[in-house]
Symmetry: C2
Subunit: 362 residues, 2 copies
């Protein structure tokens, strides 16, 4: 097992990464403020790993409430959030009960937001079960639900007290989810870590083949990158925005196509291609560089062209992005490979061209 | 005009108290991060003071979006909160747009929570228009909405960037609201400020008569007390809980009778009588002391006996209180007049007796 730390001063917390940590309740116990937890998971994850997790906690004398949600991005909304609150109240969960998210990004984001709001804040543990949530969304305290016209529009910065990352659970992860997770892994290389990007270019097929040691390395390296950025800029006033490369375009795809149609990682891959294309138009990177990014996403089995949606619709949806400032769209672009920047330099026309170069025309 | 400061380090903020400050946009301007605000108010407050507030901002070149909610505690819920989010998105409000609450406690609590959640947090200004919100709820960053089975159950600690308290607006406040506000004013004397309690005992009728200088003194003194407690214990891990004297009983009345039937201050007055009665039963204060509290509430025109509701129903509703810990009910009680404590010493039987002594039997 590896232990990383997200060094946020008084709110610092560990990330435990390893095989079988889900059954090691002794890792969690020191972080509980009372011998009671509520676990939020979904109908897909529950049959795969809820029982062994609950058993390990029950054996240690912890009272466990189970809250099982429907699975899918389309349920990341008020209605589902309210079912969490209803269950917490029904089970008399208190301000010092710990809420645990057992699942992927949707479960983690929504459960984290529930923890941030229930009784104005209860302790919260992330147990990510998808590659994407293990390498990205479980770390850093971004929690949210979607609004019909904007992804992650309603939420909070609320840090967990610990993250428990069991690499064994990836054994049952569908291939499509594995690939979507790789989009966020590649992201770290692309925005700030050239040696990692090169390592990924060497090993991408073996990652798709789920070689445990390689997956574990990719997860740890991603978590290190994420933790560094979060510690430097917790509330995204600067550098943290770089983690959102491709996300403004990607969120437009997710929202525009209907939540749940495109996986987040898939939309991010296409969005990153649009950002790369726009960076090329601005003269920052070469066509060769764009080809290099495209080749890696393609080898990872990810889409590199967007869905049939008009560029105007993209622009309209992108206007709701959280990075918009004074009406100006701020995008994460590439000054060079492994060197991302936030910029509002691109005109709507240039953005339109990049979208059109990378999507099926409507 | 008086200026107080809530000394929360980097998040310190001023409270401007005075006549006509609503029209003094120069007080707000330095706190805006972009020349755009959204004002949330309700159908009662809007015709009384929205226009002059908006005019003063517009004249200063600020783009103002207006969001007008229905009036009443029964609207302090998800549905209304969502109408705020919808309006913010429709008006393209950004993460650096400032959200302003113009209204009483319901508007302030709900708007503050909306600001805490919209795009994971936008700047927020309180402009309280009731006595209760001026002396209590606008300060200290408690924001929330109600859940059908628990008042203020879903919310956040989220500090405003400033509080603008115009004492002129109290001229149009209904008498019932004025009295409800006095319950929270009396609270400060009762829990921690004996000289203020004595001052109130001398001047309560003149406060009901709305003498401006006396009202202004009561507001300032209340704000000073509130600010001191909040600075000492922002997230209510200790002393801040004392501000909730009578609130556990009071919330049970508000929730049990249906939100909006009892005003918050009315429920708090009765709840405080129950807390005083329980303190007497525990041998901490005398029957004389209880009589002293009752006399002041009565002179202030506040109820001192609860509604027709079974003690069991009180207990059930009180179980959802945020101060419950390990299943034990923690109540704010009086060790002496002007000396409140948090205690879990009272048994359910003792609590029942105090409720029954102070309510119409069901």
């Amino acid at each position: 097992m590896e232990t990383l730390t997200v060094a946020l001063g008084k709110r610092a917390y560990p990330i435990f990464i390893g095989q079988g940590v889900l059954q090691r309740s002794e890792l969690l116990l020191p972080y509980l403020r009372q011998p009671k937890v509520a676990i939020v998971t979904n109908t897909t994850v529950a049959p795969l790993c809820l029982r062994r997790f609950v058993d390990s906690l029950s054996t240690a004398g912890i009272d466990v409430a189970e809250i099982i949600l429907p699975d899918g991005e389309q349920f990341k909304n008020w209605q589902t959030l309210n079912t969490i609150f209803d269950a917490l109240l029904k089970r008399r969960c208190e301000r010092s009960t710990t809420l645990i998210a057992l699942g992927g990004g949707v479960v983690g984001d929504m459960t984290g937001f529930a923890a941030a709001c229930y009784q104005r804040g209860m302790p919260f543990i992330q147990v990510p079960t998808t590659l994407l949530s293990q390498v990205d969304s479980s770390i850093g305290g971004k929690t949210a639900i979607n609004h019909p016209s904007g992804k992650n529009m309603i939420g909070a910065f609320y840090q967990p007290t610990l993250v428990l990352t069991d690499t064994d659970v990836l054994d049952t992860l569908p291939d499509r989810e594995l690939r979507a997770g790789l989009a966020e892994v590649i992201k770290y290389g692309l925005i700030r870590d050239l040696p990692f990007l090169e390592w990924l270019e060497t090993h991408i097929e073996r990652l798709l083949g789920r070689e445990p040691q390689l997956l574990e390395y990719a997860i740890r390296r991603s978590c290190e990158n994420k933790a560094e950025v979060v510690v430097a800029d917790e509330h995204e006033n600067g550098e943290r925005a770089l983690l959102n490369i491709g996300h403004t375009f990607g969120h437009a795809i997710e929202t525009g196509m209907g939540y749940g149609e495109w996986l987040h990682g898939e939309a991010v891959a296409v969005g990153t291609m649009m950002a790369a294309e726009l960076s090329r138009q601005l003269g920052w990177i070469s066509a060769n560089d764009v080809g290099r990014v495209e080749a890696l996403f393609t080898r990872a089995g990810l889409p590199v062209v967007g869905p049939r949606m008009a560029a105007d619709r993209y622009l309209e949806l992108m206007q709701h992005d959280k990075k918009v400032q004074g009406g100006k769209m701020r995008l994460v672009l590439l000054k060079e490979i492994a060197g991302a920047v936030v910029s509002d330099i691109a005109t709507p026309l240039e953005i339109t061209r990049a979208i059109e170069a990378r999507s099926i025309h409507a």
